[in-house]
């Protein structure tokens, strides 16, 4: 875990340290185990629904990408920060073994209800740069003061 980020350190337009991950089938099976979502769409290449959906390979769980955005935001908040809210929309599919880059940027800082809040745009994007999973997050950071 990187050093704790403080509210005073943050500037609008600041980019978050990205996470890159290329989930293989083993990773997706572990995610099935962790999340309880055992939909064969994500690990069985013979699953009939794949063909019905016009797909030639398994697809990455949307919630896996959501969780990667969660990792990004959690790392930004640090152990002393608190993630208040984070959400994404699933706009495109990602395939196993293809690199997914999870990124974010600070869109606003504000103080509200005694908290130092930072608003973020967050996303997961595929190798072609398409944001398959865009979203937003709000994090409360500690203050140095």
């Amino acid at each position: 875990m990187a050093d704790q980020m403080y509210f005073e350190d943050v500037k609008e337009g600041q980019e978050l340290a990205p996470i890159k991950i290329s989930p293989d089938k083993s990773q997706l099976v572990k995610f099935a185990a962790g999340s309880g979502d055992f939909n064969p769409l994500h690990f069985d290449e013979k699953f009939p629904m794949l063909k019905a959906m016009g797909l030639s390979d398994n697809i990455v769980h949307g919630r896996f990408k959501y969780a990667q955005v969660g990792r990004l935001v959690f790392a930004f908040a640090g152990y002393k920060g608190r993630v208040k809210k984070f959400g994404v929309n699933y706009r495109g599919m990602d395939m196993p073994n293809k690199e997914i880059t999870v990124g974010g940027v600070v869109t606003a800082k504000r103080q509200e209800g005694g908290e130092n809040l930072v608003d973020l745009d967050v996303w997961a994007q595929d190798v072609d740069g398409k944001k398959t999973t865009p979203g937003t997050a709000t994090v409360a950071l500690p203050s140095k003061g």
């Binding site: 875990m1 991950i21 989930p23 990773q27 572990k30 995610f31 099935a32 185990a33 962790g34 999340s35 309880g36 979502d37 055992f38 939909n39 064969p40 949307g62 919630r63 896996f64 959501y66 969780a67 990667q68 969660g70 990792r71 935001v73 959690f74 790392a75 152990y79 608190r82 993630v83 208040k84 809210k85 984070f86 959400g87 994404v88 929309n89 699933y90 979203g135």
Partner: protein
């Protein structure tokens, strides 16, 4: 038929009507398994002593994980594990296609191993839009998670599915 589908007042009347509550458990082994599943190596999700040294009750649930529903054979979905509970909204949706539209979680507290949560879920929103292949129905359900020990709401999660 799907093309003639309209959102009715009867459907809107189901907004906010909770289904039967269900218990979700957050355990050390379940937190670690989820953390492994997302590829995290942050000790805050694995090492109880370390998490306590950082001021947490126990290892911290990774964002996006709000516990595992109690699984009872015949009462939970065998693929997804979620409870097939009685009560709650029942929509008669004529669309065949289904996509996961989005997930949004609001946290009111940090969720840690050892937490036992009561989850209630209700229909929060319906939206009908025209897509390239006809009508698309956006169904948003909201789940509210309450810590059974303290009675406090710790998280709210909105799940949107797209029917088309």
């Amino acid at each position: 038929m799907a093309d003639e589908f309209e959102i009715t007042d009867e459907m809107r009347a189901q907004f906010g009507v909770d289904g039967t509550p269900w218990t979700y458990e957050v355990t050390t082994t379940s937190v670690r398994m989820y953390a492994r599943g997302i590829g995290s190596d942050d000790p805050i999700h694995y090492d109880v002593d370390f998490a306590k040294s950082q001021g947490f009750r126990s290892i911290v649930a990774p964002l996006g994980y709000i516990g595992t529903p109690v699984f009872l054979p015949g009462k939970n979905d065998p693929t997804f594990g979620f409870p097939r509970r009685e009560g709650g909204p029942r929509l008669n949706i004529p669309f065949k296609g289904l996509l996961d539209g989005g997930t949004e979680t609001e946290y009111l507290d940090v969720i840690c191993a050892g937490d036992v949560l009561e989850e209630t879920s209700h229909l929060a929103d319906l939206k009908l839009r025209d897509g390239p292949r006809g009508k698309m129905l956006f169904v948003t359900n909201e789940a509210v998670y309450t810590d059974k020990a303290t009675g406090k709401v710790v998280a709210k999660q909105k799940l949107t599915s797209i029917h088309m």
